[in-house]
Protein backbone atom coordinates (compact mmCIF):
# COMPACT_ATOMS: atom_id res chain seq x y z
CA UNK A 1 0.00 0.00 0.00
CA UNK A 2 1.56 3.23 -1.18
CA UNK A 3 -1.07 5.69 -0.06
CA UNK A 4 -4.43 5.50 1.61
CA UNK A 5 -7.28 5.75 -0.86
CA UNK A 6 -10.34 4.36 0.85
CA UNK A 7 -12.49 4.65 -2.29
CA UNK A 8 -10.08 2.66 -4.38
CA UNK A 9 -9.85 0.00 -1.67
CA UNK A 10 -13.63 -0.24 -1.61
CA UNK A 11 -13.68 -0.62 -5.40
CA UNK A 12 -11.03 -3.33 -5.16
CA UNK A 13 -13.06 -5.35 -2.69
CA UNK A 14 -16.19 -4.82 -4.74
CA UNK A 15 -14.52 -5.96 -7.97
CA UNK A 16 -13.15 -9.05 -6.31
CA UNK A 17 -16.50 -9.94 -4.80
CA UNK A 18 -18.14 -9.42 -8.18
CA UNK A 19 -15.50 -11.64 -9.79
CA UNK A 20 -16.09 -14.34 -7.21
CA UNK A 21 -19.84 -14.13 -7.74
CA UNK A 22 -19.45 -14.46 -11.51
CA UNK A 23 -17.14 -17.40 -11.13
CA UNK A 24 -19.53 -19.10 -8.71
CA UNK A 25 -22.77 -18.32 -10.55
CA UNK A 26 -22.97 -21.45 -12.75
CA UNK A 27 -22.19 -23.71 -9.80
CA UNK A 28 -24.93 -22.07 -7.75
CA UNK A 29 -27.47 -22.71 -10.51
CA UNK A 30 -26.25 -26.28 -10.92
CA UNK A 31 -26.55 -26.86 -7.18
CA UNK A 32 -30.10 -25.52 -7.13
CA UNK A 33 -31.05 -27.49 -10.24
CA UNK A 34 -29.79 -30.69 -8.66
CA UNK A 35 -32.40 -30.45 -5.88
CA UNK A 36 -35.52 -30.42 -8.04
CA UNK A 37 -37.59 -33.24 -9.53
CA UNK A 38 -37.34 -33.84 -13.27
CA UNK A 39 -40.73 -32.22 -13.94
CA UNK A 40 -39.48 -28.87 -12.69
CA UNK A 41 -37.44 -28.40 -15.87
CA UNK A 42 -40.34 -28.88 -18.28
CA UNK A 43 -42.21 -25.85 -16.98
CA UNK A 44 -39.98 -23.47 -18.88
CA UNK A 45 -37.71 -22.06 -16.24
CA UNK A 46 -35.06 -23.35 -13.89
CA UNK A 47 -36.18 -22.67 -10.32
CA UNK A 48 -33.85 -20.24 -8.57
CA UNK A 49 -34.20 -21.60 -5.08
CA UNK A 50 -33.54 -25.07 -3.69
CA UNK A 51 -36.13 -27.80 -4.06
CA UNK A 52 -36.79 -30.72 -1.76
CA UNK A 53 -35.48 -33.57 -3.93
CA UNK A 54 -31.84 -33.20 -3.01
CA UNK A 55 -31.49 -36.48 -1.14
CA UNK A 56 -33.44 -38.52 -3.70
CA UNK A 57 -31.53 -37.09 -6.69
CA UNK A 58 -28.07 -37.29 -5.21
CA UNK A 59 -28.70 -40.70 -3.69
CA UNK A 60 -30.09 -42.17 -6.91
CA UNK A 61 -27.31 -40.86 -9.11
CA UNK A 62 -24.53 -41.79 -6.72
CA UNK A 63 -25.65 -45.29 -5.79
CA UNK A 64 -28.38 -46.58 -8.12
CA UNK A 65 -27.69 -45.44 -11.66
CA UNK A 66 -26.58 -42.20 -13.22
CA UNK A 67 -29.60 -41.99 -15.53
CA UNK A 68 -29.96 -40.58 -19.05
CA UNK A 69 -29.06 -43.92 -20.60
CA UNK A 70 -26.17 -44.79 -18.26
CA UNK A 71 -26.92 -47.79 -16.14
CA UNK A 72 -23.95 -47.72 -13.80
CA UNK A 73 -23.98 -45.52 -10.68
CA UNK A 74 -21.72 -42.51 -10.37
CA UNK A 75 -19.58 -44.09 -7.69
CA UNK A 76 -18.38 -46.76 -10.11
CA UNK A 77 -17.50 -44.16 -12.76
CA UNK A 78 -15.79 -42.18 -10.03
CA UNK A 79 -13.67 -45.23 -9.30
CA UNK A 80 -12.75 -45.48 -13.00
CA UNK A 81 -11.82 -41.80 -13.03
CA UNK A 82 -9.72 -42.30 -9.94
CA UNK A 83 -7.91 -45.29 -11.44
CA UNK A 84 -7.27 -43.36 -14.64
CA UNK A 85 -6.16 -40.18 -12.86
CA UNK A 86 -3.84 -42.01 -10.46
CA UNK A 87 -2.53 -44.24 -13.25
CA UNK A 88 -1.66 -41.27 -15.40
CA UNK A 89 -0.18 -39.32 -12.48
CA UNK A 90 1.96 -42.08 -11.04
CA UNK A 91 2.95 -43.37 -14.47
CA UNK A 92 4.02 -39.95 -15.69
CA UNK A 93 6.01 -39.18 -12.57
CA UNK A 94 7.70 -42.60 -12.50
CA UNK A 95 8.84 -42.72 -16.11
CA UNK A 96 9.82 -39.04 -16.16
CA UNK A 97 11.88 -39.17 -13.01
CA UNK A 98 13.78 -42.21 -14.29
CA UNK A 99 14.56 -40.72 -17.67
CA UNK A 100 15.54 -37.37 -16.17
CA UNK A 101 17.87 -39.26 -13.84
CA UNK A 102 19.48 -41.04 -16.77
CA UNK A 103 19.90 -37.84 -18.76
CA UNK A 104 21.41 -35.76 -15.97
CA UNK A 105 23.59 -38.22 -14.05
CA UNK A 106 25.00 -40.42 -16.81
CA UNK A 107 26.95 -39.90 -20.00
CA UNK A 108 26.19 -42.34 -22.79
CA UNK A 109 25.91 -42.43 -26.57
CA UNK A 110 22.59 -41.14 -27.99
CA UNK A 111 21.89 -39.13 -24.86
CA UNK A 112 21.00 -36.11 -26.97
CA UNK A 113 18.82 -38.21 -29.25
CA UNK A 114 16.86 -39.58 -26.31
CA UNK A 115 16.31 -36.05 -25.06
CA UNK A 116 14.95 -34.93 -28.43
CA UNK A 117 12.64 -37.91 -28.75
CA UNK A 118 11.12 -36.95 -25.40
CA UNK A 119 10.96 -33.29 -26.41
CA UNK A 120 8.96 -34.13 -29.53
CA UNK A 121 6.06 -35.47 -27.44
CA UNK A 122 5.38 -31.84 -26.50
CA UNK A 123 4.31 -31.28 -30.08
CA UNK A 124 1.90 -34.20 -30.22
CA UNK A 125 -1.05 -33.58 -27.90
CA UNK A 126 -3.62 -36.36 -28.03
CA UNK A 127 -6.16 -34.12 -29.78
CA UNK A 128 -3.87 -33.90 -32.79
CA UNK A 129 -2.97 -37.57 -33.21
CA UNK A 130 -6.36 -38.86 -32.15
CA UNK A 131 -7.34 -41.09 -35.08
CA UNK A 132 -4.05 -42.99 -35.53
CA UNK A 133 -3.59 -43.34 -31.76
CA UNK A 134 -7.02 -44.89 -31.58
CA UNK A 135 -6.01 -47.36 -34.30
CA UNK A 136 -2.80 -48.26 -32.49
CA UNK A 137 -4.67 -48.88 -29.25
CA UNK A 138 -7.31 -50.90 -31.11
CA UNK A 139 -4.57 -52.99 -32.72
CA UNK A 140 -3.06 -53.67 -29.33
CA UNK A 141 -6.50 -54.80 -28.13
CA UNK A 142 -6.61 -52.20 -25.37
CA UNK A 143 -10.03 -50.63 -26.03
CA UNK A 144 -12.26 -50.77 -22.96
CA UNK A 145 -9.41 -51.35 -20.55
CA UNK A 146 -7.58 -49.36 -17.91
CA UNK A 147 -4.26 -49.71 -19.71
CA UNK A 148 -5.88 -48.30 -22.85
CA UNK A 149 -7.13 -45.34 -20.83
CA UNK A 150 -3.81 -44.64 -19.13
CA UNK A 151 -0.81 -45.66 -21.26
CA UNK A 152 -1.28 -43.39 -24.31
CA UNK A 153 -1.34 -40.34 -22.04
CA UNK A 154 1.57 -40.95 -19.71
CA UNK A 155 4.60 -39.90 -21.72
CA UNK A 156 5.30 -36.37 -20.57
CA UNK A 157 8.02 -34.08 -21.73
CA UNK A 158 6.93 -31.43 -19.22
CA UNK A 159 7.53 -33.65 -16.21
CA UNK A 160 10.86 -34.87 -17.60
CA UNK A 161 12.03 -31.29 -18.11
CA UNK A 162 10.94 -30.32 -14.63
CA UNK A 163 12.88 -33.15 -13.00
CA UNK A 164 15.87 -32.46 -15.25
CA UNK A 165 15.84 -28.83 -14.13
CA UNK A 166 15.63 -29.85 -10.50
CA UNK A 167 18.35 -32.54 -10.77
CA UNK A 168 20.75 -30.15 -12.45
CA UNK A 169 20.81 -28.03 -9.29
CA UNK A 170 22.13 -30.97 -7.25
CA UNK A 171 25.81 -30.17 -6.55
CA UNK A 172 28.37 -32.55 -8.08
CA UNK A 173 30.04 -32.89 -4.68
CA UNK A 174 27.01 -34.75 -3.46
CA UNK A 175 27.46 -37.35 -6.19
CA UNK A 176 31.19 -37.55 -5.44
CA UNK A 177 30.59 -37.96 -1.74
CA UNK A 178 28.06 -40.67 -2.38
CA UNK A 179 30.45 -42.51 -4.66
CA UNK A 180 33.33 -42.29 -2.18
CA UNK A 181 31.05 -43.69 0.48
CA UNK A 182 30.35 -46.59 -1.83
CA UNK A 183 26.78 -45.73 -2.85
CA UNK A 184 25.88 -46.91 -6.32
CA UNK A 185 23.49 -45.08 -8.65
CA UNK A 186 20.44 -46.95 -7.36
CA UNK A 187 21.19 -46.22 -3.73
CA UNK A 188 21.95 -42.56 -4.60
CA UNK A 189 18.62 -42.30 -6.39
CA UNK A 190 16.53 -43.64 -3.53
CA UNK A 191 18.42 -42.27 -0.53
CA UNK A 192 19.52 -38.86 -1.75
CA UNK A 193 17.73 -37.77 -4.90
CA UNK A 194 14.19 -38.84 -4.00
CA UNK A 195 14.13 -37.10 -0.60
CA UNK A 196 15.56 -33.96 -2.27
CA UNK A 197 12.79 -33.86 -4.88
CA UNK A 198 9.90 -34.58 -2.53
CA UNK A 199 8.18 -31.20 -2.89
CA UNK A 200 8.62 -31.20 -6.65
CA UNK A 201 7.03 -34.62 -6.89
CA UNK A 202 4.13 -33.53 -4.69
CA UNK A 203 3.52 -30.34 -6.69
CA UNK A 204 3.62 -32.23 -9.96
CA UNK A 205 1.31 -34.84 -8.51
CA UNK A 206 -1.38 -32.23 -7.88
CA UNK A 207 -1.19 -30.83 -11.43
CA UNK A 208 -1.06 -34.22 -13.11
CA UNK A 209 -3.95 -35.54 -11.04
CA UNK A 210 -6.14 -32.70 -12.27
CA UNK A 211 -4.96 -33.32 -15.82
CA UNK A 212 -5.70 -37.03 -15.57
CA UNK A 213 -9.07 -36.66 -13.89
CA UNK A 214 -10.25 -34.13 -16.47
CA UNK A 215 -9.41 -36.20 -19.55
CA UNK A 216 -12.39 -36.12 -21.87
CA UNK A 217 -11.75 -36.89 -25.52
CA UNK A 218 -9.55 -39.93 -25.01
CA UNK A 219 -11.88 -41.88 -22.65
CA UNK A 220 -14.79 -40.87 -24.88
CA UNK A 221 -13.40 -42.76 -27.84
CA UNK A 222 -11.69 -45.75 -26.19
CA UNK A 223 -14.55 -46.76 -23.90
CA UNK A 224 -17.85 -48.05 -25.21
CA UNK A 225 -18.60 -50.22 -22.19
CA UNK A 226 -20.39 -48.60 -19.21
CA UNK A 227 -18.05 -50.43 -16.88
CA UNK A 228 -15.09 -48.33 -18.06
CA UNK A 229 -16.81 -44.95 -18.38
CA UNK A 230 -15.08 -42.16 -16.56
CA UNK A 231 -17.08 -39.48 -14.83
CA UNK A 232 -16.12 -36.49 -16.96
CA UNK A 233 -16.82 -38.15 -20.29
CA UNK A 234 -20.08 -39.69 -19.07
CA UNK A 235 -21.59 -36.20 -19.22
CA UNK A 236 -21.40 -36.34 -22.99
CA UNK A 237 -23.22 -39.66 -23.07
CA UNK A 238 -25.86 -38.29 -20.71
CA UNK A 239 -26.43 -35.30 -22.95
CA UNK A 240 -26.68 -37.34 -26.15
CA UNK A 241 -30.15 -38.65 -25.32
CA UNK A 242 -32.94 -37.08 -27.35
CA UNK A 243 -33.17 -33.29 -26.90
CA UNK A 244 -35.89 -32.48 -24.40
CA UNK A 245 -35.53 -35.80 -22.65
CA UNK A 246 -32.40 -34.76 -20.80
CA UNK A 247 -32.95 -35.19 -17.10
CA UNK A 248 -31.18 -32.05 -16.03
CA UNK A 249 -31.30 -32.68 -12.32
CA UNK A 250 -29.30 -35.90 -12.78
CA UNK A 251 -26.91 -34.28 -15.23
CA UNK A 252 -26.24 -31.51 -12.73
CA UNK A 253 -25.59 -33.92 -9.85
CA UNK A 254 -23.14 -35.83 -12.04
CA UNK A 255 -21.45 -32.62 -13.19
CA UNK A 256 -21.01 -31.42 -9.62
CA UNK A 257 -19.68 -34.78 -8.47
CA UNK A 258 -17.30 -34.89 -11.44
CA UNK A 259 -15.76 -31.53 -10.55
CA UNK A 260 -15.66 -32.06 -6.82
CA UNK A 261 -12.47 -34.16 -6.40
CA UNK A 262 -10.11 -31.94 -8.45
CA UNK A 263 -11.60 -28.78 -6.94
CA UNK A 264 -11.01 -30.17 -3.46
CA UNK A 265 -7.44 -30.97 -4.43
CA UNK A 266 -6.84 -27.39 -5.64
CA UNK A 267 -8.44 -25.78 -2.60
CA UNK A 268 -6.93 -28.17 -0.07
CA UNK A 269 -3.41 -28.16 -1.48
CA UNK A 270 -3.32 -24.62 -2.77
CA UNK A 271 0.38 -24.04 -2.05
CA UNK A 272 1.50 -27.18 -3.84
CA UNK A 273 -0.92 -26.48 -6.66
CA UNK A 274 0.45 -23.00 -7.29
CA UNK A 275 4.01 -24.29 -7.12
CA UNK A 276 3.21 -27.09 -9.56
CA UNK A 277 1.52 -24.73 -11.97
CA UNK A 278 4.44 -22.31 -11.98
CA UNK A 279 7.07 -25.08 -12.23
CA UNK A 280 5.29 -26.97 -14.99
CA UNK A 281 5.25 -23.94 -17.26
CA UNK A 282 8.91 -23.03 -16.97
Amino acid sequence: MIENRPWLTAISHLSLLLGIAMVALPVWVALVASTHPTEAFGSGEIPLWFGDQAIQNWGAVLFAKAGNGIDVPVWSMMLNSLVMALGITIGKIAISILSAYAIVFFRFPFRGTAFWVIFITLMLPVEVRIVPTYEVVANLDMLNSYSGLVLPLIASATATFLFRQCFMTVPGELVEAARIDGAGPIRFFFDILMPLSRTNIAALFVIMFIYGWNQYLWPLIVTTDDAYYTLVMSIKRMLSVEQGDVEWNQVMVTTLLAMLPPVLVVVGMQKLFVKGLVDAEK
Binding site: S15, F105, V131, T255
Partner: protein, 291 residues
Amino acid sequence: MSVHFPQKKLPYLLLLPQLVITFIFFLWPAEQAIEQAFYQEDAFGLSREFVGLDNFIDIFQDPQYYTSIGVTLIFSFSVAFLGMALALWLAVMADRVIRGKLAYQTLLIWPYAVAPALAGVLWWILFDPSMGPVALWLETVGVEWNHFLNGDQAMILVVISATWKQISYNFLFFLAGLQAVPRSLIEAAAIDGASPAKRFWDIVFPLLSPTTFFLLVVNLVYAFFDTFGVIDATTQGGPGVSTATMVYKVFNDGFIGLDLGSSAAQSVVLMGLVGIMTVVQFRYIERKVEY
Protein backbone atom coordinates in the same frame (compact mmCIF):
# COMPACT_ATOMS: atom_id res chain seq x y z
CA MET B 1 26.64 -31.58 -13.86
CA SER B 2 30.32 -32.45 -13.97
CA VAL B 3 30.30 -35.66 -11.96
CA HIS B 4 28.62 -38.74 -13.38
CA PHE B 5 28.08 -42.35 -12.58
CA PRO B 6 30.26 -44.62 -14.72
CA GLN B 7 27.62 -47.29 -15.53
CA LYS B 8 27.07 -47.71 -19.26
CA LYS B 9 24.00 -49.93 -19.48
CA LEU B 10 21.92 -48.60 -16.59
CA PRO B 11 20.94 -45.29 -18.24
CA TYR B 12 19.36 -47.12 -21.18
CA LEU B 13 17.37 -49.20 -18.76
CA LEU B 14 16.18 -46.06 -16.99
CA LEU B 15 15.14 -44.43 -20.24
CA LEU B 16 13.45 -47.53 -21.57
CA PRO B 17 9.92 -47.08 -20.14
CA GLN B 18 9.52 -43.52 -21.37
CA LEU B 19 10.99 -44.28 -24.77
CA VAL B 20 8.80 -47.35 -25.28
CA ILE B 21 5.65 -45.37 -24.43
CA THR B 22 6.78 -42.51 -26.65
CA PHE B 23 7.43 -44.78 -29.60
CA ILE B 24 4.24 -46.81 -29.35
CA PHE B 25 1.75 -44.07 -28.52
CA PHE B 26 3.34 -40.91 -29.90
CA LEU B 27 5.79 -41.53 -32.71
CA TRP B 28 4.07 -44.51 -34.32
CA PRO B 29 0.65 -42.76 -34.50
CA ALA B 30 2.31 -39.57 -35.72
CA GLU B 31 4.09 -41.53 -38.42
CA GLN B 32 0.79 -43.23 -39.36
CA ALA B 33 -0.95 -39.87 -39.59
CA ILE B 34 1.75 -38.57 -41.89
CA GLU B 35 1.58 -41.72 -44.03
CA GLN B 36 -2.22 -41.70 -44.11
CA ALA B 37 -2.18 -38.11 -45.23
CA PHE B 38 -0.79 -39.27 -48.58
CA TYR B 39 -3.37 -41.99 -49.13
CA GLN B 40 -7.03 -42.11 -49.98
CA GLU B 41 -8.92 -44.83 -48.11
CA ASP B 42 -12.44 -46.06 -48.76
CA ALA B 43 -14.88 -45.74 -45.89
CA PHE B 44 -14.64 -49.41 -44.93
CA GLY B 45 -10.86 -49.39 -44.65
CA LEU B 46 -10.57 -52.23 -47.17
CA SER B 47 -8.30 -50.62 -49.70
CA ARG B 48 -6.31 -47.46 -50.14
CA GLU B 49 -4.31 -45.86 -52.85
CA PHE B 50 -1.44 -43.44 -52.89
CA VAL B 51 -2.64 -39.99 -53.87
CA GLY B 52 0.42 -37.85 -53.18
CA LEU B 53 -0.41 -34.37 -51.99
CA ASP B 54 -4.07 -34.57 -53.05
CA ASN B 55 -5.39 -34.63 -49.49
CA PHE B 56 -3.49 -31.45 -48.67
CA ILE B 57 -4.59 -29.78 -51.89
CA ASP B 58 -8.17 -30.79 -51.12
CA ILE B 59 -8.23 -29.32 -47.62
CA PHE B 60 -6.64 -26.09 -48.77
CA GLN B 61 -9.18 -25.78 -51.56
CA ASP B 62 -12.07 -26.56 -49.26
CA PRO B 63 -13.83 -23.37 -48.16
CA GLN B 64 -14.96 -25.21 -45.02
CA TYR B 65 -11.35 -25.57 -43.95
CA TYR B 66 -10.85 -21.83 -44.15
CA THR B 67 -14.06 -21.40 -42.17
CA SER B 68 -12.62 -23.63 -39.46
CA ILE B 69 -9.37 -21.63 -39.45
CA GLY B 70 -11.42 -18.46 -39.06
CA VAL B 71 -13.49 -20.00 -36.27
CA THR B 72 -10.32 -21.13 -34.51
CA LEU B 73 -8.74 -17.69 -34.72
CA ILE B 74 -11.84 -15.82 -33.53
CA PHE B 75 -12.39 -18.30 -30.73
CA SER B 76 -8.77 -18.41 -29.56
CA PHE B 77 -8.11 -14.68 -29.60
CA SER B 78 -11.44 -13.94 -27.91
CA VAL B 79 -10.68 -16.44 -25.15
CA ALA B 80 -7.12 -15.18 -24.73
CA PHE B 81 -8.07 -11.50 -24.71
CA LEU B 82 -11.14 -11.80 -22.51
CA GLY B 83 -9.47 -14.19 -20.07
CA MET B 84 -6.35 -12.07 -19.72
CA ALA B 85 -8.20 -8.75 -19.41
CA LEU B 86 -10.52 -9.98 -16.67
CA ALA B 87 -7.72 -11.79 -14.87
CA LEU B 88 -5.45 -8.74 -14.98
CA TRP B 89 -8.19 -6.54 -13.56
CA LEU B 90 -8.85 -9.00 -10.73
CA ALA B 91 -5.13 -9.48 -10.07
CA VAL B 92 -4.53 -5.73 -9.82
CA MET B 93 -7.41 -5.47 -7.38
CA ALA B 94 -6.21 -8.45 -5.36
CA ASP B 95 -2.69 -6.99 -5.26
CA ARG B 96 -4.10 -3.82 -3.67
CA VAL B 97 -6.12 -5.36 -0.88
CA ILE B 98 -4.49 -6.38 2.36
CA ARG B 99 -7.34 -8.09 4.13
CA GLY B 100 -8.59 -11.40 2.80
CA LYS B 101 -6.09 -11.79 -0.01
CA LEU B 102 -5.77 -15.53 0.39
CA ALA B 103 -9.53 -16.02 0.67
CA TYR B 104 -10.06 -14.08 -2.55
CA GLN B 105 -7.38 -16.10 -4.28
CA THR B 106 -8.90 -19.41 -3.18
CA LEU B 107 -12.37 -18.39 -4.32
CA LEU B 108 -11.06 -17.28 -7.71
CA ILE B 109 -8.73 -20.11 -8.67
CA TRP B 110 -10.86 -23.21 -8.21
CA PRO B 111 -12.37 -23.22 -11.76
CA TYR B 112 -8.93 -24.30 -12.99
CA ALA B 113 -9.80 -27.76 -11.68
CA VAL B 114 -13.07 -28.02 -13.61
CA ALA B 115 -12.87 -30.07 -16.82
CA PRO B 116 -13.58 -28.02 -19.97
CA ALA B 117 -16.54 -30.25 -20.89
CA LEU B 118 -18.12 -29.64 -17.49
CA ALA B 119 -17.54 -25.90 -17.79
CA GLY B 120 -19.42 -26.06 -21.09
CA VAL B 121 -22.35 -27.90 -19.53
CA LEU B 122 -22.57 -25.49 -16.58
CA TRP B 123 -22.83 -22.49 -18.89
CA TRP B 124 -25.13 -24.28 -21.27
CA ILE B 125 -27.77 -24.66 -18.58
CA LEU B 126 -27.51 -20.95 -17.72
CA PHE B 127 -28.02 -20.05 -21.37
CA ASP B 128 -30.44 -22.81 -22.34
CA PRO B 129 -32.97 -21.13 -24.63
CA SER B 130 -36.04 -22.71 -23.05
CA MET B 131 -35.19 -22.67 -19.34
CA GLY B 132 -31.81 -21.03 -18.65
CA PRO B 133 -32.05 -18.04 -16.28
CA VAL B 134 -29.64 -15.90 -18.31
CA ALA B 135 -31.38 -16.67 -21.61
CA LEU B 136 -34.77 -15.82 -20.10
CA TRP B 137 -33.41 -12.60 -18.67
CA LEU B 138 -31.94 -11.72 -22.08
CA GLU B 139 -35.38 -12.24 -23.56
CA THR B 140 -36.88 -9.67 -21.20
CA VAL B 141 -34.37 -7.08 -22.41
CA GLY B 142 -35.15 -7.92 -26.04
CA VAL B 143 -32.40 -10.35 -27.05
CA GLU B 144 -33.71 -13.54 -28.60
CA TRP B 145 -31.18 -16.10 -27.34
CA ASN B 146 -30.89 -19.50 -28.97
CA HIS B 147 -27.39 -20.88 -29.34
CA PHE B 148 -28.73 -23.98 -31.09
CA LEU B 149 -29.83 -21.85 -34.05
CA ASN B 150 -27.68 -18.75 -33.92
CA GLY B 151 -24.02 -19.30 -34.79
CA ASP B 152 -22.74 -16.08 -33.21
CA GLN B 153 -24.50 -16.87 -29.96
CA ALA B 154 -23.08 -20.39 -29.99
CA MET B 155 -19.63 -18.84 -30.35
CA ILE B 156 -20.29 -16.46 -27.45
CA LEU B 157 -21.35 -19.38 -25.28
CA VAL B 158 -18.22 -21.45 -25.94
CA VAL B 159 -16.00 -18.38 -25.51
CA ILE B 160 -17.59 -17.63 -22.13
CA SER B 161 -17.25 -21.24 -20.96
CA ALA B 162 -13.63 -21.52 -22.07
CA THR B 163 -12.74 -18.12 -20.59
CA TRP B 164 -14.40 -18.85 -17.26
CA LYS B 165 -12.09 -21.80 -16.76
CA GLN B 166 -8.94 -19.97 -17.81
CA ILE B 167 -9.28 -16.80 -15.69
CA SER B 168 -7.92 -18.59 -12.62
CA TYR B 169 -4.70 -19.53 -14.37
CA ASN B 170 -4.08 -16.05 -15.76
CA PHE B 171 -4.97 -14.54 -12.39
CA LEU B 172 -2.30 -16.52 -10.55
CA PHE B 173 0.43 -15.62 -13.03
CA PHE B 174 -0.55 -11.94 -13.17
CA LEU B 175 -0.66 -11.77 -9.38
CA ALA B 176 2.82 -13.28 -9.16
CA GLY B 177 4.00 -10.82 -11.81
CA LEU B 178 2.51 -7.86 -9.94
CA GLN B 179 4.11 -8.90 -6.69
CA ALA B 180 7.49 -8.95 -8.41
CA VAL B 181 7.23 -5.29 -9.47
CA PRO B 182 9.68 -3.33 -7.27
CA ARG B 183 7.78 -1.28 -4.68
CA SER B 184 10.39 1.49 -4.82
CA LEU B 185 9.48 2.35 -8.42
CA ILE B 186 5.83 2.75 -7.59
CA GLU B 187 6.60 4.74 -4.45
CA ALA B 188 8.85 7.08 -6.41
CA ALA B 189 6.11 7.65 -8.98
CA ALA B 190 3.57 8.25 -6.21
CA ILE B 191 5.81 10.87 -4.63
CA ASP B 192 6.10 12.55 -8.04
CA GLY B 193 2.33 12.78 -8.03
CA ALA B 194 1.38 10.07 -10.52
CA SER B 195 -2.17 8.81 -10.03
CA PRO B 196 -2.82 5.07 -9.52
CA ALA B 197 -4.08 4.72 -13.10
CA LYS B 198 -1.03 6.49 -14.51
CA ARG B 199 1.31 4.40 -12.36
CA PHE B 200 -0.33 1.27 -13.68
CA TRP B 201 -0.13 2.12 -17.38
CA ASP B 202 3.31 3.75 -17.33
CA ILE B 203 5.17 1.51 -14.91
CA VAL B 204 3.40 -1.67 -13.88
CA PHE B 205 1.94 -2.73 -17.22
CA PRO B 206 5.20 -2.40 -19.18
CA LEU B 207 7.02 -4.32 -16.45
CA LEU B 208 4.44 -7.07 -16.74
CA SER B 209 5.08 -7.60 -20.45
CA PRO B 210 7.06 -10.85 -20.03
CA THR B 211 4.14 -12.32 -18.07
CA THR B 212 1.63 -10.98 -20.57
CA PHE B 213 3.46 -12.44 -23.53
CA PHE B 214 3.95 -15.78 -21.84
CA LEU B 215 0.24 -15.91 -20.95
CA LEU B 216 -0.75 -14.98 -24.49
CA VAL B 217 1.09 -18.01 -25.87
CA VAL B 218 -0.21 -20.34 -23.16
CA ASN B 219 -3.78 -19.10 -23.63
CA LEU B 220 -3.65 -19.57 -27.38
CA VAL B 221 -2.33 -23.11 -26.96
CA TYR B 222 -5.10 -23.74 -24.42
CA ALA B 223 -7.80 -22.38 -26.71
CA PHE B 224 -6.46 -24.34 -29.68
CA PHE B 225 -6.10 -27.74 -28.12
CA ASP B 226 -7.59 -28.02 -24.65
CA THR B 227 -11.06 -26.69 -25.36
CA PHE B 228 -12.27 -29.64 -27.40
CA GLY B 229 -14.44 -30.69 -24.45
CA VAL B 230 -16.21 -27.32 -24.23
CA ILE B 231 -17.20 -27.44 -27.87
CA ASP B 232 -18.05 -31.13 -28.02
CA ALA B 233 -20.23 -31.07 -24.91
CA THR B 234 -22.17 -27.90 -25.76
CA THR B 235 -22.43 -27.11 -29.48
CA GLN B 236 -20.71 -30.02 -31.24
CA GLY B 237 -19.28 -27.56 -33.70
CA GLY B 238 -22.72 -26.29 -34.60
CA PRO B 239 -25.02 -24.83 -35.55
CA GLY B 240 -23.70 -25.71 -38.99
CA VAL B 241 -19.95 -25.30 -38.64
CA SER B 242 -20.00 -22.02 -36.74
CA THR B 243 -18.06 -23.36 -33.73
CA ALA B 244 -16.08 -26.15 -35.43
CA THR B 245 -12.46 -25.35 -34.64
CA MET B 246 -9.59 -27.05 -36.46
CA VAL B 247 -9.11 -29.63 -33.70
CA TYR B 248 -12.83 -30.34 -33.67
CA LYS B 249 -12.78 -30.82 -37.44
CA VAL B 250 -9.96 -33.39 -37.25
CA PHE B 251 -12.03 -35.43 -34.83
CA ASN B 252 -15.27 -34.92 -36.72
CA ASP B 253 -13.91 -35.77 -40.17
CA GLY B 254 -12.00 -38.76 -38.84
CA PHE B 255 -14.47 -40.38 -36.46
CA ILE B 256 -17.86 -39.21 -37.68
CA GLY B 257 -17.21 -38.54 -41.38
CA LEU B 258 -14.69 -41.41 -41.69
CA ASP B 259 -12.68 -39.38 -44.18
CA LEU B 260 -9.37 -40.66 -42.85
CA GLY B 261 -7.12 -39.18 -45.49
CA SER B 262 -8.43 -35.67 -45.01
CA SER B 263 -8.46 -36.02 -41.21
CA ALA B 264 -4.84 -37.22 -41.30
CA ALA B 265 -3.78 -34.35 -43.55
CA GLN B 266 -5.43 -31.93 -41.10
CA SER B 267 -3.59 -33.66 -38.24
CA VAL B 268 -0.31 -33.08 -40.02
CA VAL B 269 -1.13 -29.39 -40.48
CA LEU B 270 -1.94 -29.15 -36.77
CA MET B 271 1.29 -30.91 -35.82
CA GLY B 272 3.16 -28.28 -37.78
CA LEU B 273 1.22 -25.60 -35.94
CA VAL B 274 1.95 -27.04 -32.48
CA GLY B 275 5.56 -27.35 -33.53
CA ILE B 276 5.76 -23.66 -34.35
CA MET B 277 4.00 -22.68 -31.13
CA THR B 278 6.30 -24.87 -29.06
CA VAL B 279 9.36 -23.36 -30.65
CA VAL B 280 8.02 -19.82 -30.12
CA GLN B 281 7.26 -20.65 -26.51
CA PHE B 282 10.74 -22.02 -25.88
CA ARG B 283 12.67 -19.47 -27.90
CA TYR B 284 11.06 -16.37 -26.51
CA ILE B 285 10.27 -17.49 -23.04
CA GLU B 286 13.76 -18.80 -22.46
CA ARG B 287 15.12 -15.46 -23.60
CA LYS B 288 12.31 -13.51 -21.90
CA VAL B 289 10.79 -10.36 -23.28
CA GLU B 290 12.49 -8.03 -20.88
CA TYR B 291 13.37 -4.42 -20.40
